[in-house]
């Protein structure tokens, strides 16, 4: 059967290998037949509750087997799923829910109270879809009545599909510089070519035990979920709790005998920092993939020295161009700790262009802006033609229909034919793999009590976390400067990974000649204070 829609991967495996294990979630295992039939049943429930083609279904679900059942169910009902971060504060989820205009919000026991806060007493038209479990049979929120309830039931067949591969499959919300997260539309046709390329290039087999490390609202998880289904392999969901203690992650890889690992580099650097990987550890592991940010070369050397039997591949690509657009298999353990690791060459069907301000390729080795085109290119941002036009542009010398995404990354094409990254042309940063617009933090600060003025800068660190977020504050007159209180207030608006970890009090913010806040001056003050802490 040809795969035209993402759920076809699952349907195909359920026919070929129904009893094979698809998902391992703690002590719970779900076979391909169970995953297929349960998602059929929930798809029928969504249809019967009034869902129509193109309706958005928000998933307020922790990473779990039932969350993946829900993803497939939404697709089988012809809907668009919107994975939500259950650890995000309510205010931010409110923005995402409102922007997506979801017909239903699916919740389970652990997210019930957050669901009630989001849906109770507001003008929202979103209704609750309650996913029962033996430990939480009832939705106990007083102010909200579920629009439907579903328990792990099974149906033989899904609703009839009228879907096209150009339909949007999911919306992934990323940080927005104006304070509102942007919903990137990803179609079936965006994902399928990458999954087909990756599973073939990385030789995924039914015998593979694949990690499910990133959260489901993070686009890397798209490869975990659909790559595993495409191969008929096992997906081993990694509990986010394990991230705190690096040796627990190492135990997990060892005990589960994982064969492929895919995560953000900050986790791998964290494991290297605590030296939890033994020589020739993880004998079953064949491949380690990372994406989302730069993997510091010293940490890569740490891993490659200990695991000579493993292939190490860097994947690169923003959410807007679907999972990854380029790859680089590190041929051998780097010798120099400052050796740059390129982002490599385009994946099948993708184009990477380094262009100067005149939209012309600069001489080889010179820096320009990185643009990406090809099969993974998203149609744009949900309900936001203005933001879409700003970064999805016409290809300068291709056919008129060809578009490019302006990544905001600075890059060069090396004499070796490989693309190298050289930082950002804007104020977007990466911290622990999360993409963060500093502007989103500043907007949240503007409405935080006790602050007269604030500015946010990032400082590259040599630690595992990537950039360190630093906040310069001019307190309100007569208000004491208490960063722990400001951080607490800010945590009502922003997820924890966006909260500044360094704070300094300023009498007034320094201004440059144009009267704008002088970020370089602020950055150097933070650099000095960081430096004095270390020495």
């Amino acid at each position: 059967m040809t795969v035209r829609l993402l759920q076809d991967y699952l349907i195909r495996q359920a026919q070929a290998r129904p009893r094979a294990v698809a998902i391992v979630d703690g002590d719970r295992r779900l076979t391909y037949a169970e995953l297929d039939r349960q998602s059929n049943s929930l798809a029928w429930t969504l249809r019967e509750a009034g869902c129509q083609k193109g309706d958005r279904i928000a998933l307020l679900l922790p990473k779990s087997a039932v969350a993946i059942v829900s993803m497939f169910a939404a697709l089988k009902a012809g809907c668009i799923y919107v994975p939500m971060d259950v650890d995000s504060p309510r205010d931010r989820l409110d923005l995402i829910l409102g922007s997506s205009g979801s017909r239903f919000l699916l919740a389970v026991g652990s997210s019930a109270s957050l669901a009630e806060q989001l849906l109770a007493g507001t003008a929202t038209t979103t209704r609750l879809g309650w996913l029962e479990s033996p430990s939480h049979p009832e939705f106990l929120g007083g102010g909200v009545t579920p629009g439907f309830r579903w328990q792990a039931a099974e149906s033989e067949a899904p609703p009839e599909s009228t879907g096209s591969s150009e339909d949007v499959a999911h919306l992934l919300f990323t940080s927005g510089s104006t304070g509102r997260p942007k919903g990137v539309m990803i179609t079936h046709a965006n994902v399928i070519p990458f999954i087909d390329w990756a599973t073939s290039h990385f030789n995924y087999t039914p015998e593979d035990y694949i990690s499910g490390h990133p959260p489901l609202h993070f686009d890397l998880s798209t490869l975990d979920v659909y790559g595993t289904s495409a191969a008929g392999a096992q997906l081993h969901l990694v509990s986010p709790k394990l991230n705190l203690l690096p040796h627990k992650i190492a135990d997990f890889i060892r005990d589960r005998e994982l064969t492929q690992w895919f995560s953000v580099p900050s986790l791998l650097s964290y494991m290297a920092k605590f030296d939890v990987v033994r020589q020739n550890d993880f004998p079953k592991l064949k491949r380690l993939l990372w994406c989302g940010e730069r993997f510091p070369t010293p940490a890569l050397i740490y891993w490659m020295k200990r695991l000579p039997h493993v292939e190490f591949t860097n994947l690169y690509g923003p959410t807007e161009t679907t999972i990854a657009s380029s790859f680089y298999k590190v041929p051998e353990c780097p010798v120099a700790e400052d050796a740059p690791i390129p982002i490599g060459v385009p994946c099948a069907g993708e184009t990477l262009l380094v262009l100067d301000e005149q939209m012309q390729p600069p001489p080889v080795g010179d820096m320009g802006s990185l643009y990406i085109g090809g099969v993974g290119l998203s149609p744009g941002y949900w309900n936001d033609p203005e933001k879409t036009r700003a970064v999805f542009v016409d290809e300068p010398f291709g056919p008129a229909s060809h578009r490019l995404y302006k990544t905001g990354d600075l890059a060069s094409l090396g004499h070796d034919g490989l693309v190298y990254l050289h930082g950002r042309s804007d104020s977007q940063i990466k911290s622990r793999g999360y993409r963060i617009e500093l502007g989103e933090i500043e907007v949240a600060l503007q409405t935080t009590n006790g602050i007269r003025e604030a500015a946010v800068v990032a400082i590259e660190s040599t630690g595992f976390e990537g950039a360190v977020i630093c906040c310069a504050v001019v307190p309100e007159r007569g208000v004491a400067f208490e960063p722990q209180v400001l951080r607490q207030r800010l945590s009502q608006r922003l997820p924890h990974y966006m909260l500044p970890s360094r704070w300094l009090r300023f009498e007034r913010l320094p201004l440059n000649g144009n009267g704008k806040v002088d970020k370089p001056v602020i950055r150097s003050q933070f650099s000095e204070s960081l430096h004095s802490e270390v020495s």
Partner: protein
């Protein structure tokens, strides 16, 4: 002289800038302790108490609250002379 609990409370408020309601508050459920916080916490526990744990023997419950972190530090014998 301040107690071990008070000194750890001080690390949370003055170094990690995290507002912990009580020594018993669950640091995981409240999201107050993440990997970045743990690295800074361990660094400061070493600086202030000479506490150097064997990472491979650490468990979640030992970091669940300021009280349990204080128990961990005290039972290791670290910080007794400071």
């Amino acid at each position: 002289m301040s107690t071990c609990i008070e000194r750890i409370q001080n690390i949370f408020s003055q170094v990690l800038y995290r507002d912990v309601q009580s020594p018993q508050a669950d640091l995981f459920e409240t999201g107050l302790l993440d990997s970045m916080g743990l690295v800074e916490l361990l660094f400061n526990l070493e600086q202030q108490f000479g506490f150097q744990p064997d990472i491979n023997n650490l468990d979640f419950d030992q970091f669940r609250s300021i009280e349990s972190i204080a128990n961990l530090v005290e039972s290791s014998g670290a910080g007794q002379n400071s």
